[in-house]
């Protein structure tokens, strides 16, 4: 192992050396595979608890991953000191401490890591208790039954004369609620017993939104019909979605819906459908023909189903922000990439980010060895959500299309020329 190589490269080398799949390591460390991929390509700096977690999952000392002696432990110590400011720990001297007392430093770092892991587990369980539809419904039934039994029995136990009719009614209510309580708790115990071996799902805001959009098949019929929806309409739509369980997911969904509505206004389905019937040309040329930005066309094409796309084939859509983090992913169904090629597939997206407004296209061959190909077309755009003069927002979008039949047009010939010049990746 080259000790001068960056941390991400070392992680990748150790992982490959130990024959661990990227997805498995990511799962063990409770991060997404795309985030691990960015770390391994040194596009994200890491330290502290995550470094300790990765080293533990790889079965090696944290120091062997970090770029300096004991850096991982020292960073974990610094993080721990920030979490417990009342300790007045000498943060500036954490490296010195780690060097002088490496055993104690590792112990403190390990305990801090374990604490963080337990905190995350509690947060996950808490989130699940609140948002798992079955658990939430069971808890609601149990608490409602207990409330009713408590109130009704207190009325009867109060000693006041409530009259025979009310007395009979409350007795019947207590009987009904105790039965309901008994049945619900039995079901719940059975459910939890069956679940003990099941891994708890960890859903980030993006994963929740992905799941929601997948369930809707990436099409928002309400906005297709009413693209002039305002923010209040978007929030109403999002609040009605049971899959979106917290404010972060809902806010992210509203942001995406805002883009969706704007895209529909710029390129209504009826206009797009007519254009697709008339021509079989590359998305860049089609965007030019329609007078819309390529990214608008990418998103509109990705909102159409495989059936609606007909002979043009299915579409996938990915987006990343200025830091290279994937912020949108609609996979291309029915195309066998093989695990190792997923990161390769994303490179046009990152290349486009480095060259704003210049399209990047690339053809990929399926791993099955068949003639089927996928064309990736990526473009990055700059917007100013907080107004001109404020920080710009960079976003790159990449459309994936199944290329079922070779497209021999002037445009594709132009694209080939681009290939030769190296502008197209």
């Amino acid at each position: 192992m080259d000790v001068s190589s960056p941390t991400g490269s070392r992680i990748r080398s150790y992982r490959i050396e130990k024959g661990i799949r990227q997805a498995d390591l990511a799962r063990d460390c409770e991060i997404s595979p795309s985030y691990l991929n960015l770390i391994e390509h040194n596009r994200r700096r890491i330290g502290g608890v995550l470094l300790l977690r990765l080293s533990s999952a790889l079965g090696i000392e944290p120091d062997r991953l970090s770029e300096g002696a004991d850096l991982g432990v020292a960073m974990a110590l610094s993080e721990a000191a920030q979490v417990f400011p009342e300790s007045d720990a000498e943060v500036a001297r954490s490296s010195e401490f780690a060097n002088r007392f490496p055993g104690w430093a590792r112990l403190i770092a390990a305990l801090y890591g374990e604490r963080s892991r337990l905190e995350e587990t509690i947060a996950r369980l808490d989130k699940r208790l609140t948002h798992d539809p079955y658990l939430a419904a069971s808890m609601h039934t149990i608490l409602s039954s207990v409330t009713s039994i408590r109130s009704s029995s207190a009325i009867l136990a109060n000693g006041e004369d409530v009259g025979p009719e009310w007395e009979a009614r409350f007795q019947r209510n207590i009987f009904e609620d105790s039965q309901r309580l008994s049945e619900t708790t039995e079901d719940l115990v059975r459910f939890l017993e069956n679940e003990t071996e099941t891994e708890l799902p960890v859903l980030t805001a993006q994963e929740e939104v992905d799941a929601w959009l997948t369930a809707r098949q990436w099409r928002i019929a309400e906005l297709e019909a009413e693209p002039d929806a305002d923010d209040a309409d978007l929030w109403r739509l999002v609040r009605a979605a049971g899959e979106l369980t917290d404010d972060a997911s809902r806010a992210y969904a509203v942001e995406l819906l805002g883009i969706y509505a704007s895209d529909v206004r710029l390129l209504p389905e009826v206009v797009l459908r007519d254009a697709l019937e008339d021509t079989v040309i590359t998305p860049l040329t089609l965007a030019e023909h329609l007078g819309v930005a390529p990214t608008v066309l990418f998103r509109r094409l990705a909102s159409r189903s495989r059936e609606e796309m007909g002979e043009r084939g299915g579409t996938g859509l990915f987006a990343c922000d200025g830091e290279g983090t994937l912020i949108f992913r609609k996979p291309l169904d029915g195309f066998d990439w093989g695990g190792a090629r997923i990161s390769e597939m994303l490179w046009p997206l990152f290349q486009a980010m480095e060259r704003p407004l210049i399209p990047v296209t690339r053809l990929f061959q399926a791993d099955t060895g068949e003639a089927e190909k996928v064309r990736a077309t990526a473009v990055s755009e700059i917007s100013f959500p907080d107004g001109y003069g404020n920080k710009p927002k960079h976003t790159a979008w990449m459309l994936l299309e199944q290329v079922i039949a070779p497209v021999e047009t002037a445009t594709s010939r132009a694209a080939s020329a681009f290939d030769k010049t190296g502008i197209v990746g």
Binding site: V146, T147, S151
Partner: protein, 122 residues
């Protein structure tokens, strides 16, 4: 003195019966409503002195109903006692942000409900 009126928006029939009994014995007129969608209209038509509002209602959350009640001039000043099976800090904070008068978690005691209703209407 006119009759004091409570509108109980709750979908659990046995809880409705218990609360209705407790408050009726204390001299309150208790109207009930069980659906989330038409809850705001029910408040308009009944003009209660106090609303007791469950959070988990069919078709609409109690938080959305509270939000609407506080946004409208005609209902803004009606005190709202919120009942919920979810007593987490963030639920309480959300209710307070929306303008709830009192937040009570299930299971509650009859005495708590009665005393709170008396306090809020005074």
């Amino acid at each position: 003195m006119s009759e004091r009126r409570v509108l109980l928006i709750e979908d659990e029939p046995n809880i409705i019966e218990a609360i209705r009994f407790i408050l009726s014995r204390d001299g309150w007129r208790v109207d009930t409503h069980s659906d989330g969608i038409s809850a705001v209209e029910a408040v308009h038509s009944r003009s209660p002195d106090l609303v007791i509002l469950d959070v988990m209602l069919p078709n609409r959350s109690g938080y959305d109903i509270l939000n609407d009640l506080k946004a409208e001039e005609a209902t803004r000043d009606i005190p709202v006692l919120m009942l919920t099976a979810r007593g987490q800090k963030k639920d309480r904070e959300l209710a307070e942000r929306l303008g709830v008068s009192r937040f009570m978690t299930k299971p509650f005691s009859n005495g708590e409900v009665l005393n709170t209703v008396r306090e809020l209407v005074g």
